[in-house]
Amino acid sequence: MITMAFMGACQSNPNKNSAKQLAADADNAGLKLPEGFSALVYADDIGRARHLAINTNGDVYVSLSNKKKGGGIVCLRDENKDGRADIIKYHGVYDGTGIKINNGYVYFGSDQMVVRYKLTEGELLPAAKPEVIAKGFDDQNQHAAKPFTFDQAGNMYVTVGAPSNACQLEDRTKGSPGMDPCPLLAMHGGIWRFKADVLNQDQAKDGYRYATGIRNALAITWNTVENKLFALQHGRDQLGSFYPELYTKEQSAQLPAEEFLSVSEGSDFGWPYSYYDPIQNKKVLAPEYGGDGKKPGRPDAEDPILAFPAHTAPNDVLFYTGSMFPEKYKNGAFIAFHGSWNRAPLPQEGYYVAFVPFKDGVPSGAWEIFANGFAGIDVVTNPGDAKHRPCGLAQAPDGSLFVSDDSNGRIYRIAYK
C-alpha cells in the first residue's frame, strides 16, 4: 500500500490520468470491501453530507446538516460519465437530514418541517421555491433530524425523535426519575404518517402517530417488496453514568442493542420504559423505571427483528433491489452505522456499512460488515479521530451503492465488477 502511494506521489496522480475511465480508485477510496467489490470517490468535501437520493437519470441530491455555499442541498451530476461528479451545485435555504425523491419532487426534511422542490425533467436544479408538506414539529436540541420515507399508497412516514435520552424528569441527570407515563410520546419518540402530496399539514392536527416507543429512528425505509415499514433506533445512552451501581463500564458500552424494527401500524417498541439487552436476548426494564438490569421490560414492548452492537448509531437503511450485486444481496438490507461516541473509555464501535440478508421479509442469516475503513484508523477512541463516518445510503439506477459521510463530505460509490 505504502509503495503504491509512494509511486503515485512520484508520478502524476494516477486518478487524474484515469479520469476518463469508469474505474475504481486504486485504494477503493480507502474502504475494505468483500471480494469483487470496488469503490471510488464520487465527490469529496461537499459539506456535512447526511442522507442522499438518486434520480432515475443518475443525478444525486445530498442533504447537509449545515448549509454550505448558501445551500442545504447539494445537487451533483456526472456529465462526462466517468463515475465522478463534475457538476456540483448548492440549493435550498434549509439544512437538515431527510431527503428523498418522490413523484417528481425532491423532498427535504429540515428539523421542523418537511418541504419539497419540483424537479424538471433533464434539469439538475429543482425549483427555487419549496412547498411545505409537513410542519409544526417541535424545536428540539437533540434527536431533531427528520428523515422520512414513502409507501406505495401516497403516504409519507416521518421520524420524530424524542428530545430526551430516557424520558427523565431532568434529562441526562443522575438521580432524576423517568416520567411515567412519558409525556413526550404524545408528539415524539415515534413515526408519524402524513399524506405525501397535501400541503401545510400540521403534526398535531393532521399527522397520525403510526408507531410509538422509538427513541430516534434515523434509519427509516419502506420495503417495496414486502410493502412494509422498517426502521432502526438509536438506543439510549449512559446506563453506567447514571446507574454505576447497576452497570459496569463494559456493560454500559454494550447495552442496549441498536434495534432493527419491523414497523406496523400501532407498533410500540417500548422506549423509554424498556430497552433491548442483546446478551440476555430480551427487553429489559430501564433503570429510570425501576429496572435493575435484569427485570423484564414492560409487556407491550415489541422485540426487534435483529439486535446490533450498542451505540453504533444506525443512520440509514436501504433494501437492495438492484441487479449489479450478487444474488445474495437481493432484497437484503444495507445499514450505515455512523459510529458510537459513548463507549469511552472502551474503544468506539461502528463506522461501517453492514449487510443483513433477507428472505421473505425476515433476516435469513447472520449480519456482516460490508464496507469498512471509513474512519481511516483501525481503532476509534475519539469520534473526532474518524476521517469519515457513514451516514446515508442510496441505490443508483445501475445498482451501485452510494454512501455519504458527514464528517468530511465524501460521497462513495461502491460497485460490483
Binding site: 436540541n141 437533540q142 473526532g384
Partner: protein
C-alpha cells in the same frame, strides 16, 4: 559503562548500605516498605523517567466528563464541543464554573462549529471536583490557562 549505569549502581550500593544500617538498629519496617523509597530514587535518577503524579482533575474528568467530551477533549463533531485549543477552556473561570453547575443550552459556536445539544447541569460535583476538573482541562488538551482553586469555586457557587 555509561555514566547513567554508574549512577545507578552507586545508588543501589548506597541504598543497600542505608537499609542494612537501619535493619541493624532494629527498625520495625519490613523490607518492602524500605525498598519503596529506594525504587523511587532509582527511577528519579534515570533521565526521562519522572514519577509523574496524575493530575487530580483527570480522575474526576474521566468519571463525569469523558463520556461526552472524550478522553482527549476533542468532543463529538456536531454534538459536543471540544475543550482543547480554540475552545472555551480559556474563558472567564466564573463562566466555566456556572456552565458546570447550571448546564448550558441553546446554540453556541466553538472553533467555527455550531453546537445545540444541551449540557445537563452537574450540580452534584463538589467544589474541589469542579476546581480540579477545570484546572485539568485548562492545563491539558493543549491548553495552558491559569488553574481554578476551590475558594473561587465556592465563591461563585455562593453567588458572590
Amino acid at each position: 559503562m555509561s555514566s547513567i549505569v554508574k549512577q545507578l549502581i552507586f545508588s543501589v550500593v548506597l541504598g543497600v548500605f542505608v537499609i542494612s544500617h537501619q535493619e541493624s538498629r532494629g527498625a520495625n519496617n519490613t523490607g518492602s516498605v524500605r525498598s519503596e523509597p529506594l525504587a523511587k530514587e532509582i527511577s528519579g535518577n534515570q533521565p526521562g523517567k519522572t514519577a509523574a503524579k496524575e493530575h487530580p482533575g483527570k480522575a474526576a474528568y474521566t468519571k463525569y466528563c469523558l463520556v461526552c467530551h472524550q478522553a482527549n477533549g476533542s468532543g463529538v463533531p456536531g454534538m459536543f464541543p471540544p475543550l482543547g485549543k480554540g475552545s472555551w477552556a480559556g474563558r472567564d473561570p466564573k463562566e466555566l464554573v456556572l456552565i458546570i453547575t447550571k448546564g448550558l443550552s441553546g446554540k453556541i459556536e466553538v472553533n467555527g462549529e455550531v453546537y445545540k445539544s444541551a449540557m445537563p447541569p452537574q450540580a452534584y460535583l463538589t467544589d474541589k471536583e469542579i476546581a480540579d476538573i477545570l484546572t485539568y482541562i485548562r492545563s491539558d488538551f493543549g491548553n495552558s490557562f491559569k488553574p481554578v482553586d476551590v475558594e473561587f469555586v465556592k465563591k461563585v457557587r455562593s453567588g458572590k
